[in-house]
Every structure is written in C-alpha cells, then in structure tokens.
Symmetry: C2
Subunit: 173 residues, 2 copies
DNA sequence: CATGAAGTAGAGTGTTCATTCTACTTGCAT
DNA sequence: ATGCAAGTAGAATGAACACTCTACTTCATG
C-alpha cells in the first residue's frame, strides 16, 4: 500500500460515494484521485478495477470505524456497533450502502458480488464475536442491514428500532 | 392504463429487473417492451421516464402480490407478509430491491428517491395496519428491509430471522 | 551528471448510445 | 373510400466516454 495507491483509492471511494457508480466518467475519477490519466490506469487498468479499488478501501475504513474501540462487555458491544454505524451513515453514507450500490449498478459483475458478500460476512462475524452472539449472524445481519436501509427513511428512529430489536435478540439468547 | 401502456411498462420492468439500470440500452428496452422506438418514446419521452414507468408498474405488482389475500387475524398477518416477500424474492427479485437499485444507479434523481420513499412508506403502512401494529412502522420497515437485503446472502434463514424478530416485536406490544 | 523509473498534461480514437427523423403500414370512423 | 391516429422498421446524428498515446518533467541513485 504505497502512498499513491492510497491516494488514488481514497479519491475513488469519495467520488463513487458522492456521485454513485453510473455518473462519474473516468475523467471525473482522475480529478478525484488527483493523478494523471496515465497513472490512474497504471494502478487500475479499467474502470471496473477503479470500482473494486474504491470498495476495498471502503471496507478497510468501515471496519476501522465500526469495530475499533468497542467496549469489551458483550452486552454493550451491539449498541456500540449500532451507534458507530449510525455515525457512519450520518457522515459518510447518506445514500446507503456503497457495496449494494455498486452491485446494483453492475449486476453481472461476479467479482463485485463476491466483494459484497465478503464485506457483509466479515461485518456479521465481527459483530457476533464482539456481542457474544456467535451463531446469530443471520439475525444480526438482518438488523444491521435493516438499519442501513431504513436510515435514509427514518433517521434516528431507525437507530432506536435497531437497538431495541438487538436487545430483544440478546435477551432471548 | 391502456393496453399498450401496460405492455410497455411490463417489458421495461422485466428488462431492468433482469439486467439492472445501467446496462440496457434504449434499443434493448425497445426490444423488451416489444414496440417500436417511436412508440416507446411517445409513452416515455426519455430513458428516465422509462425507469419511472418500470418502478410504478413494479410498485402496483408488489402491492398486489404481498397484500392481497392476507389472513384477517392480525397475529397471522405479519408472518404472511414475510412469506409473501420471500416468495417475491425467490421468483422476482434475486438481485434485491429494484427501487434501491434504481436510486443507486442515479443518486441525483430526486423523483426516483421520492418514488422509493412512497413505495416503502406504503408497504410499511399496509403492513402495520394488517398486523395491528400501527405506530410500529419504523420497526417493521427495519425488519422487512433487513429481510430483503439479507435474503441474497442467507436465503431461507433470513426468512426465519425476520419472522422471529417480528414475533418478538408483536409480543412486546 | 546522466539515466531511467515514475509522474504530469492533455489531445486523439473508435465505439456506444440516447434521441430524432424518414418512410411506410394498418385499421377505424366518418 | 378516404383520411387520420397510431403503429412499425430502422437509419442518421451528435455527444459522451473509455481507453491510448505523445511529449514533456522530476528526481533519486549509481
């Protein structure tokens, strides 16, 4: 992960997050990355590769923002994850999950679908582990996905719903 | 809603559902609609209008498939809605919610966003009414959105999770 | 100090695509 | 039977865009 790779990935992620996957031309992406056409294509030899680079960068950043500094008490971990996701939505993902957006824009691209699945699986697994709810990955994914999707519609009320459902899930176990 | 309007809307919905919103050219859409270019543009004067026509058609079809013939017992209505959505996903929406896909493909289009919001609001409202859970629209949206998003990842296990969380929500009330 | 790896700027190329236009057909109502 | 409303087939147009190429600059290192 050299300096310039990081710079390019950061710019690409920002551009796609702001303008979606259909709209930005490679020229726009070059401007966002802050490099020349030649250099951009050297590190991402096609527009598809640019999308992948952006998602991989986002994955790393998401994990860092959501799962670093969680409380070690398992009963506090899930609400903390939900709060972290809410903060993420508020500051970074007004338009919803970038992985779903990417797959929606290119439903034929198998590599993208795999990236989405890996991302969601890792989020579910880490959440389950932190909350002491291993085996409940499906329920947790449902709650977190539901939160991410209903946030643009209901805002903070969606956060309350997610916490409430999370609490119910934990007490049942 | 004349014959030909319906024919065009049906074809457009199918094309977008199968190939996403980015890929199909207007030529492809014309073939899917089974009319000439001139006629297609007469009823949908731009590609954007074609997207809107497809979504409006899908909205009507979704409501019919999910909310017709629900059991009148409120405690049975929510599981029935969840089962209907599962059937819908299985047969029609392998790639996830078409409304979200459309918005993801064109995040700047305000009309599309409004269509999405109206669709989700009506689904939440009808579900709440059928299940005797008015006031719980946010929670219901979270569960149903979570189901729709995690279905491609977990299949029937997502359906079980949704029912379980729905049951917990209902018993608390 | 020169050389080559790695960068910049930006023009060129060939293709794809949304939209429009031309020319022709069909069937219904007067 | 004619004329118009509504359809078909598909070619033309002009813009946008992914990707490539040319020419030039920087700068660390042997």
């Amino acid at each position: 992960m050299t300096d310039i790779t990081e710079k390019i990935a950061t710019g690409l992620e920002k551009a796609f997050a702001e303008h979606g996957f259909a709209e930005p031309s490679v020229g726009d992406l070059r401007d966002a990355a802050g490099v020349s056409m030649r250099t951009l294509y050297k590190y991402a030899p096609s527009r598809e590769d640019m999308v992948r680079a952006a998602l991989e960068h986002r994955h790393r950043r998401y994990l860092r923002l959501v799962f670093e500094d969680l409380p070690s008490d398992p009963s506090l971990a899930l609400p903390a994850v939900i709060d972290a996701i809410a903060r993420w939505m508020e500051s970074e993902a007004a338009h919803g999950c970038l992985f779903h957006a990417a797959v929606a824009a290119a439903p034929r691209d198998e590599k993208l679908l795999q990236l989405l699945k890996d991302h969601k699986a890792e989020v579910a697994e880490r959440t389950a582990r932190a909350a002491g709810l291993t085996g409940k990955e499906t329920d947790l994914t449902l709650i977190l996905e539901g939160l991410t999707q209903s946030w643009p519609l209901y805002g903070k009320a969606a956060v309350r719903s997610a916490k409430e459902l999370g609490r119910k899930l934990a007490t049942a176990a």
